[in-house]
């Protein structure tokens, strides 16, 4: 029994470790070079930040399908704001900071809207956020006139590929290897959310609302407020993620930015062992889920596999993760 629990509890982590060992064994130094490991943490940092927020929403018994479109909408706002502020004579860094705050605010408002309709309108979260998926993308397209919006402020790009120098490591040209800001932000957000979920009263409320809303209500928890809060937090995190995306690309393609992010984020949450039924979940599992998906993409390139296989491999990993979870439920 103990052995089986190890697999159900740490399945995703074991899979990640297994793939890691396989990569080290077959690719050795190429895989272990610092740049590659750095890329693994930073490449899907935007999806990671969103997935952390998604974990909270799913634990509270909800879901949000609108996050990809919301990323495009907030990203469009970031670039437009940064251009506008910088052209009005403001310093580039101040302009970037203010634009980031603006995007996070817009994201939070969009999330609040989702949460409001879910909590008070009593409409299924799936349907509400399906509306958001269509609506937010449309707003993004209107802002970008259907095309891409380019930043005129080059320090934004420096932020996208900037970070802290990793000590004692030099790249091929002898320059420092940077640990990107995006990865630092991803890790920071995950730690913060993990603390909030496991160590605060609000965290316990989220779990309680997801596990049994009626019981939560009877124990004097305002379930509407909790629901509103998790969607708003997710919205703000989407705004933050859109800053990372916009900086990485120095622009936002309003038709393509954030495409399928909702699926990637939900996949990471599910792989990480959070139950889609709510009431049970963990942030570290989601982080492992994000890393697992990134590692799979990384391996597709490294092993010269036709990229068309990527979807199938991802699909298998997701299915296996869910099947393991189902097994756990039946035991309880």
């Amino acid at each position: 029994m103990k052995k089986a629990n190890l697999l159900t509890e740490y399945g995703a982590l074991i899979a990640l470790a297994l793939l890691f060992v396989i990569n080290v064994a077959t690719r050795g130094g190429n895989f272990l070079q610092i740049e590659n490991l750095r890329n693994l943490v930073s490449q899907d940092a935007a999806v990671g930040v969103i997935a952390v927020g998604m974990t909270l929403v799913i634990i509270a018994g909800g879901i949000d399908l609108s996050v990809g479109s919301m990323t495009a909408m907030c990203g469009a706002v970031v670039i437009l704001l940064v251009n506008k502020l910088a052209s009005s004579g403001m310093g580039a860094n101040v302009a970037i900071l203010l634009a980031a705050v603006g995007a996070i605010a817009i994201g939070a408002i969009a999330g609040l809207l989702n949460g409001f309709v879910v909590a008070y309108g009593r409409v299924a979260a799936f349907v509400v956020t399906l509306g958001g998926l269509a609506g937010f993308r449309s707003i993004a397209l209107v802002l970008g006139k259907g095309g891409e919006i380019r930043s005129q402020v080059s320090p934004l790009q420096d932020f996208g590929f900037g970070g802290l120098a990793i000590p004692f490591v030099k790249d091929a040209a002898g320059g420092p290897v940077l640990f990107y800001w995006s990865a630092i932000i991803f890790i920071g957000i995950a730690l913060l959310a993990g603390f909030g979920l496991n160590r605060t009263r609000f965290g316990r409320y989220i779990v309680a609302v997801g596990a049994n809303p009626r019981a939560a209500e009877y124990s004097a928890i305002n379930i509407q407020t909790v629901r509103l809060a998790v969607y708003t937090i997710l919205g703000a995190l989407v705004g933050l993620a859109s800053v990372l995306v916009g900086a990485r690309m120095n622009s936002i393609g309003t038709g393509s930015a954030g495409l399928y992010y909702e699926l990637d984020a939900i996949a990471a949450v599910v792989i990480g062992g959070t139950s889609l039924r709510g009431g049970k979940g963990r942030i570290w599992g989601t982080v492992v889920g994000v890393l697992l998906l990134t590692l799979i993409s990384n391996m597709i390139t490294a092993y010269h596999i036709d990229t068309n296989w990527q979807g199938l491999v991802r699909g298998i990993v997701i299915l296996v993760a869910v099947l393991i979870q189902r097994g756990k439920k039946e035991d309880e």
Partner: protein, 333 residues
């Protein structure tokens, strides 16, 4: 139940092993070292990064990228396609850590891919850019089709065939420089013919289904349309479906573009719906592949002395007379 879970664990492990197995296969296949290998004895490694095949033309790009790289077996080619810009950027980063010497890039979108291309170029990687350009001159070689000629030549053909008189509909692609160049050049030509009237102008997003819907709406709004300037062969097929569904496929004709084999065949067979087509060969990626191989073989510094920075590929009109020169039944496009 325990047994079931153990099986799942094993399945997860197998997924990993399958990935590695695929690698073993490709390594064995590509182990024959060619003559032009670099002096260190290591093979050159080149990445090809293209958008995922979301319509016929991009599928053609994939086909020709495969084909051209196979003609250079002395180089280790890694082909990857991207479903959106972020995906493509990550792919390029992965190629960099793989230690590629050069990259052939057809950008999903121009703006988003420019920062990463700049970073790779600064790191000393040879960048060959095909079709969709970057917003800064960061490519060592930029190869593109002449989209203004595409618009001009197709519009001139249409105006002449209509004897300078008639009602036409325009179906546009995805908004980007490629579409703008084509449409503006075509409209400039039509302007010179006062008898030609553009009765409808809307987007088909280079997509068969969307073009079908757009055309269906145009047909309802316009009782008479003499010709459709569809600017892409996928869209031309969508237009055809709409015309047939509305029973309006007589006394009208379509001009697509791209040189899809199905359309070229119809031109060759003198189908009245498709009197001509205009080339925009996805095989241009193959030229990019050759350029990358050539630069690496010659050495970057030597190649710089004679390789052009910008190559513009001419666009040709396909008519029943010359269609057989443009018909490649083995290609998927």
């Amino acid at each position: 139940m325990n047994r079931f879970r153990s099986l799942l664990g094993i399945a997860l492990g197998i997924a990993g092993v399958v990935l590695v197995g695929c690698q073993a296969g490709t390594d064995a296949g590509g182990a024959t070292a060619g003559g032009g290998a670099p002096k260190t004895g290591k093979k050159f490694k080149v990445g090809i990064s293209i958008p995922a095949a979301d319509h016929g033309w991009t599928a053609g790009v994939k086909y020709w990228a495969d084909f051209a790289s196979k003609q250079n077996p002395d180089i280790d080619w890694i082909i990857q396609d991207a479903k959106e810009s972020g995906d493509q950027i990550s792919g390029l980063e992965n190629l960099q850590t793989q230690g590629v010497d050069a990259m052939v890039i057809l950008a999903y979108e121009s703006g988003p891919l420019t920062p990463i291309a700049k970073k790779l170029h600064d790191a000393g990687i040879v960048i060959v850019n095909v079709d969709r350009g970057f917003t800064e001159p960061v490519a060592d070689v930029f190869i593109e089709g002449d989209n203004k000629a595409f618009g001009r030549k197709s519009a001139e053909y249409m105006a002449k065939k209509l004897n300078g008189k008639g009602k036409i509909a325009i179906i546009e692609g995805v908004s980007c420089t490629v579409n703008t160049d084509r449409v503006e050049a075509a409209k400039a030509v039509f302007k010179a013919y006062p008898g030609i009237q553009i009765v409808a102008d809307d987007k088909g997003e280079w997509n068969r289904e969307k073009a079908e819907k757009t055309m269906a709406n145009m047909l309802v709004a316009n009782p008479q349309i003499d010709a459709v300037w569809a600017s892409d062969d996928d869209m031309a097929l969508g237009v055809e479906t709409a015309l047939k569904a509305a029973g309006r496929n007589k006394n009208i004709w379509i001009l697509g573009g791209g040189g899809m084999k199905d359309i070229v065949k119809r031109v060759m067979d003198k189908d009245p719906l498709f009197p001509a087509d205009i080339t925009y060969p996805p095989s241009m990626i193959g030229f990019g592949v050759q350029a990358a191989a050539g630069i690496l073989h010659a050495g970057k510094d030597n190649a710089k002395k004679y390789m052009p920075r910008h190559v513009m590929i001419d666009i040709e009109l396909i008519t029943p007379e010359n269609a057989k020169d443009f018909y490649f039944p083995d290609s998927i496009y």
